[in-house]
């Protein structure tokens, strides 16, 4: 076989280049600590590496969400505990009010304290979450969910919205309980009623929460509702009370005196202030009562039931009803708090699970991506040695030339 001179040189040079390139790559691996330097080094491993990094990033994301959710749920839990305490105090007061011999001033002081506790509950119901939104407002977290209507009674201004968040692939949990569930829609033991001024009333009339004076009579009337309309007749303000379903009038064209009680079909309430012509108020019977409504009726009962046998009987009924509703409110609160507890557990266990998965992913990632130093360095040494050998042998061989011998 014949070998030309340029062949000898070219071959040698080519081999140096190859060895140099190999050595350079090994050195880069050692310096960066990465086995896979660019996707072309190992496209399959590369893709897997990217997937693993994705998984880790997603997991981090979920853990962030879980932390935020935990804070919020803990806040709600704390609020509900305080609320339950307030409910217990209310029970004490109501039981006290139910004990037979009470004087006028005793009643008054109980009513006062009930007012205070009610105020406490309202501000608990208006608690803000960690980002400044109201916890119990449903979707309308920018506005206080509980506030006074024109009559001074507490009304709910939020909605029934429920919010969830994603805490793992395909897993969501609810992060709020809205005010309607928690405080508003408490089942009432026996039929009850709620009063409301119409939206477009022009005057300054207010309607009190109202109490049941004669249970039998009221339950006969139930579930019908009342409409109280105001009219101006020759300079006098008059009112009419009629049934909403049938239009039957129970009180027609009565002269209006602010603050005077209006008693109809076993219910009693007061309208005060200055209502104008065409203003109206509704008295809607139903079987739900908010905790605030229950307290308002208690307070009104204590303050307005006269100290007569009928009055005392009516007060007893109010207190009984109040206690029953209170029980329902307590049950509801317990139920909701239990739900919060369950969710907090889920959050905790999901966090644990994600941490464990992360560990596994990190290990796999390291296997794929990180260089085995022992192997790489011994490879580097070997390549170095090979390069030296090649250089030396080339130096020798290239010096040989027949011309030198001539």
């Amino acid at each position: 076989m014949r070998v030309s001179t340029s062949q000898i040189f070219n071959q040698g040079i080519q081999q140096f280049q190859n060895l140099n390139a190999q050595q350079a790559r090994t050195q880069e691996q050692v310096a960066t600590g990465k086995e896979v330097l660019s996707p072309s080094d190992d496209p399959v491993a590369s893709t897997r590496i990217v997937q693993l990094k994705d998984d880790l990033a997603r997991s981090e994301q979920y853990q962030d969400t879980l932390d935020m959710t935990q804070t919020r749920l803990e806040r709600e839990d704390g609020t509900l505990s305080s609320y339950t305490d307030a409910l217990a105090r209310t029970r004490e007061l109501m039981v006290q009010a139910g004990s037979g011999s009470l004087s006028e001033s005793d009643r008054e002081s109980i009513a006062q304290e009930l007012r205070q506790v009610k105020g406490q509950m309202v501000s608990l119901a208006n608690t803000k979450g960690p980002e400044g939104e109201f916890l119990f407002a449903g979707f309308q977290g920018g506005e206080k969910p509980f506030g006074e209507d024109v009559s001074g009674n507490i009304e709910y201004r939020g909605d029934s919205g429920e919010r969830s968040v994603q805490i793992d692939d395909g897993v969501t949990i609810k992060v709020n309980d809205n005010g309607r569930e928690t405080f508003e829609a408490i089942p009432s033991d026996r039929p009850t009623f709620n009063t409301r001024a119409a939206q477009n009333n022009e005057g300054s009339g207010r309607i009190s929460s109202g109490v049941v004076t004669d249970r039998e009579e009221f339950e006969q009337f139930y579930p019908d509702d009342l409409v109280v309309t105001f009219d101006e007749v020759s300079g006098n303000t008059e009112y009419t009370v009629k049934s909403q379903r049938t239009g039957e009038e129970f009180i027609s064209g009565e002269d209006y005196v602010s603050g005077n009680p209006i008693e109809v079909n076993g219910m009693r309430f007061e309208v005060s202030g200055e209502p104008k012509k065409d203003d109206s108020f509704t008295v809607t019977s139903g079987d739900q009562q908010s905790i605030f409504g229950t307290m308002e009726k208690m307070i009104e009962g204590l303050e307005t039931h006269p100290n007569t046998p009928e009055g005392r009987e009516a007060l007893e009924d109010t207190i009984d009803q109040g206690l029953a509703n209170l029980q329902n409110a307590e049950d509801r609160a317990t139920e909701i708090q239990a739900g919060v507890g369950t969710r907090l557990n889920t959050v905790e266990s999901t966090k644990e699970f994600l941490k464990d998965s992360d560990l596994l992913a990190q290990e796999t990632l390291s296997d794929l991506e990180d260089v085995d130093y022992a192997e790489a360095i011994s490879r580097l040494t070997q390549q170095n040695f090979t390069l030296q050998a090649a250089q030396q042998s080339f130096a020798r061989i290239s010096r040989l030339s027949l011309f030198d011998a001539l």
């Binding site: 893709t47 935020m68 939104e133 919010r163 994603q166 379903r245 027949l402």
Partner: protein, 900 residues
């Protein structure tokens, strides 16, 4: 004498040999130099008496040691190696650019979705919203950056291609020149060629093979014809062709390799294979362009999907979401996807655009659209890289004309399209470059949904309603805006679901809360299954509702049989995929003029596919206050075909609404009729939610008159008609049939107005689809109601935010194969494996080329040691020959000396 000559021949020959050897030595490093050897040939011997006496030596030829077979092999291996080298060089760093965390898209995509999920967790937090917006901007910037890096590689490779073509041109010129020189070289006739000319030509051919695949064909006159690629000739004897690269990127889309010709320049890009040019073209058209297309597809798919979902939401200011990213079908973007060829563009009047119709169906190919003739309507669409035929067809003359493809459509807007027109279509190529965010402030991110539901606090039952899910803002088929929500995202009208009984409800318009009206189209008698989850609205975007209860004036009548004429109802269904229309066998109602009840008609309709009919009847009984009589008896009967169920009410005292109501309440048999009763003090309304006819008979021997009316359940209410009954009279009230037709289903009826048509022969129907859905469950009771309202103030609502953050979890792109990050991963993997393959192939090709080179060197390369040896050899021979001359001279001198 001959001794001298013989010696001289030796001297001369060896001199030439030495010259040849020294030529070899000095040219040892000349590229393409084939070693030469002097061919020693004995001179013809002279015949003498003593036999043949040789006459010395002669150099017949300076032989060039070169094997054409080895040359061809070497060129072939060189072409392969250069091609892979060019690929490796172009690919260098591209996989790193795409795959690297700092420069690639993967992290930006993940972070974008991550911040959206964060914002969804706390929709009221303005800092989280800002963050999400920043990440969106960052993502767009990253898309653009990757895109511009790739485009600059495109610019580079086009420059390389251009340089390749220039080199090819100059090599072709050189070869043609050499051809001429070789053909005309003296000595050609006697078979001797100028060796260095041949070397030079071979070297040029080898250099050419580095650029492109080369085939040669030697002619008898010594010229060589050269063709490249798949057989495109570029050198023919003394003539060479010229190649160039077409236009600029903006104008023609892709730059083609053109062969300059007498008339037109012909595009020969598809003919080019092998070599650096082939490698550059392969890189540009088969790797770089699909990569740009692939990344563009992700940008387009993300924009489309985000926008679709974002439009369903509500932002912090209470406005409907609108577009999150730039609209992918805006005019400038749509027009930029289709470019005319240089010639087609000359006329300047063709206006076309490419609209993306469904980004999930897009692939990463580029296409050419050609109007091939023979008329101006026929066209062909091909894959721009492989040339594969994708679609043929013809357009109509009307403008705009649309050609539908998978995931996009080509809209020819205006202009004189004609035979010979050519266009390049790249639906996704500009996707990344054109991407932009449309929203500018965090509060514009639509994380909430615009709808919500509220159960009335007076509800007695245990019914529950979900808060609602948005499905569409536009009709998915027509693109028309659905009108259930107005432009501000307010529910129009606000609605209320009212339960009429445990398993029937109506949905009414409560724009005026004090005066609820029927919905348009109506939902007056909807079935509900207690205990199960029921959807409230139709989920079928194509469904339509139509009503039938005869003309408006038709009220109760004394003679029910005289009311409606016989009609045949035909249901036709058009299959939305195939367009085939199927007809079901018609049904006959009111056969022979016998009036059918609404219930019976609804039952017949429900047997037809794609039809859901519901029937109900309402009758108002209004006593006359001026003629109340005393103790009248009223018979209420439900008439269903021949079947009659009746109950007689004995009213106590004068006939008033209240006393009638009382009689109803006290009658224990009345329950069995299954009618609901409402009393407003003036009249009593009876309702059957099954649709039988209600017949009222009055037996009032002591006076009393009773008005029987049929209320209008649609539009503005009121009554469609009434009859006043006196003693002994009766009236029958017929019901209504509300029908919902599924997508593509149409109902027609024959016309028989004698005296009336129950169904309008060509009834108009209204879309039933609202674009959202609520679910009812539990056990509601009669009288329970649920309000559907606009989500005003819903700043804590994150329903749409959850959906937005979840977009990457669903596989949407590539017909449901890839999520967005998957699709990007696939692009990176493709580039990575192409790079790895190219590297491996380059090494393999390099080895092959080395082998060929070795072979060539073995045959034609100069070995200095060998030449050194030869020097000595010829030098010795020269000396020996000169000795011969010297001896000859001595002999001559001796001879001369004899004569002196």
């Amino acid at each position: 004498m001959s001794l001298l000559n013989t010696g001289l021949t030796g001297i001369l020959s060896n001199q030439k040999a030495l010259e040849t050897t020294s030529n070899n030595i000095t040219n040892a490093n000349t590229p393409g130099y084939s070693r030469q050897r002097a061919d020693f040939v004995s001179n013809p011997s002279q015949a003498t008496g003593s036999g043949y006496i040789g006459q010395g030596v002669n150099v017949a030829d300076i032989q060039r040691l070169n094997d054409e077979f080895i040359n061809t092999q070497l060129r072939s291996d060189t072409t392969l190696h250069s091609e892979q080298t060019a690929l490796v060089e172009n690919l260098n760093g591209m996989d790193d650019l795409l795959g690297n965390e700092k420069t690639g898209l993967n992290q930006a995509l993940t972070q974008f979705f991550g911040t959206l999920q964060d914002a969804a967790e706390s929709p009221a937090s303005s800092s989280l919203r800002e963050q999400a917006l920043n990440q969106a901007d960052n993502l767009v910037a990253r898309f653009k950056s990757v895109d511009s890096q790739l485009r600059s590689r495109e610019q580079t490779v086009d420059d390389r291609i251009s340089a390749n073509l220039n080199e090819i041109n100059s090599l072709a010129d050189g070869i043609a020149e050499l051809n001429l020189k070789i053909a005309e070289s003296p000595g050609r006739a006697s078979g001797r060629d100028a060796n260095e000319l041949l070397d030079k030509r071979d070297e040029k051919l080898r250099q050419l093979s580095e650029l492109v695949q080369v085939q040669t064909n030697e002619n008898n006159d010594g010229t060589v014809d050269v063709s490249i690629g798949k057989g495109q000739g570029i050198v023919s004897k003394g003539n060479s062709a010229t190649l160039r690269l077409s236009g600029s990127t903006e104008q023609a889309g892709r730059r083609e390799v053109l062969l300059e010709g007498v008339g037109r320049d012909r595009a020969i890009t598809h003919e080019i294979t092998g070599g650096a040019l082939g490698g550059n073209l392969t890189f540009r058209d088969e790797i770089l362009e699909p990569t740009l297309n692939g990344i563009g597809r992700i940008a387009i798919g993300l924009s489309e999907r985000m926008n679709e979902q974002h439009q369903l939401g509500q932002d912090l200011n209470g406005n409907l979401g609108g577009n999150f990213f730039r609209d992918i079908n805006s005019e400038s973007l749509a027009r930029g996807r289709i470019t005319p060829s240089a010639e087609t563009a000359e006329s300047g009047d063709r206006q076309a655009r490419v609209n993306i119709t469904d980004s999930s169906k897009l692939d990463t190919r580029s296409y050419t659209l050609e109007f091939t003739g023979p008329d101006d309507q026929q066209y062909r669409i091909r894959d721009a890289t492989s040339g594969e035929l994708v679609k043929t067809g013809s357009i109509s003359d009307s403008r705009p004309s649309t050609i539908s493809m998978e995931g996009f459509e080509i809209e020819l807007e205006s202009g004189d399209f004609q035979q010979g027109d050519e266009f390049t279509i790249r639906p996704t190529y500009n996707g990344a470059r054109d991407m932009a965010t449309e929203i500018v402030a965090g509060e514009q991110i639509a994380l909430a949904a615009p709808i919500r539901a509220e159960a009335s606090s007076g509800n007695q039952g245990t019914g529950q309603i979900t808060q609602g899910t948005m499905l569409n803002i536009r009709d998915p088929e027509t693109g028309r805006r659905l009108d259930a929500l107005d432009e501000n995202g307010n529910l129009d009208p606000p609605m209320e679901i009212r339960f009429l009984s445990e398993n029937r409800y109506e949905v009414v318009d409560v724009s005026d809360p004090a005066n609820p009206k029927p919905l348009d189209p109506p939902m007056n008698n909807v079935r509900f299954e207690p205990g199960k989850t029921n959807t409230v609205f139709s989920g079928d975007p194509g469904s339509r509702t139509l009503t039938a209860s005869g003309p408006a004036e038709n009220g109760p009548t004394a003679d029910p049989d005289s009311v409606y004429g016989e009609q045949n109802i035909t249901i036709r269904t058009r299959d939305p995929e195939t367009g085939v229309v199927s007809t079901q066998s018609p049904i006959t109602i009111n056969e022979g003029g016998d009036k059918e009840s609404a219930r019976s008609i609804a039952d017949k309709l429900n047997n037809q596919r794609g039809v859901e009919a519901t029937a109900y009847t309402e009758a108002t009984l209004t006593p006359d206050p001026s003629n109340q009589g005393n103790n009248p008896d009223i018979e209420v009967a439900l008439v269903e075909g021949g079947d009659v169920k009746d109950v007689t009410l004995n009213v106590n005292g004068p006939l008033t609404a209240d006393s009638l109501n009382q009689a109803i309440q006290e009658n224990s048999d009345f329950q069995s009729l299954g009618l609901s009763v409402t009393n407003d003090g003036d009249s009593v309304k009876l309702r059957s939610d099954r649709g039988e006819d209600i017949r009222i008979s009055l037996d009032a021997t002591n006076g009393a008159e009773l008005g029987v009316g049929k209320p209008n359940p649609y539009g503005d209410g009121g009554t469609t008609g009434s009859e006043t009954l006196s003693d002994g009279e009766q009236a029958t009230v017929g019901g209504y049939v509300d029908t919902t037709l599924a997508d593509g289903v149409r109902l027609t009826a024959t016309d028989n107005p004698s005296p009336e048509n129950f169904f309008d022969p060509a009834p108009s129907s209204d879309p039933a689809y609202k674009g959202f859905q609520f679910e009812l469950s539990g056990n509601p009771e009669a009288g329970d109601s649920f309000r559907l309202e606009t989500n005003e103030g819903g700043t804590s609502d994150n329903r749409n935010g959850l959906a937005l953050g979840d977009l990457n979890a669903k596989n949407y792109l590539d017909n449901g194969n890839f999520s967005f990050t998957d699709a990007y991963g696939s692009v990176v993997e493709d580039v990575g494996s192409r790079t790895q393959t190219a590297q491996v192939d380059k090494e393999a090709a390099g080895t092959l080329m080395e082998q060929s080179q070795k072979q060539w060197e073995e045959q034609s390369g100069v070995n200095l040691d060998e030449e050194a040896g030869r020097l000595i050899q010829f030098q010795n021979a020269y000396s020996a020959s000169s000795q011969v001359v010297s001896v000859a001279r001595d002999l001559f001198n001796t001879l001369l000396g004899t004569f002196n």
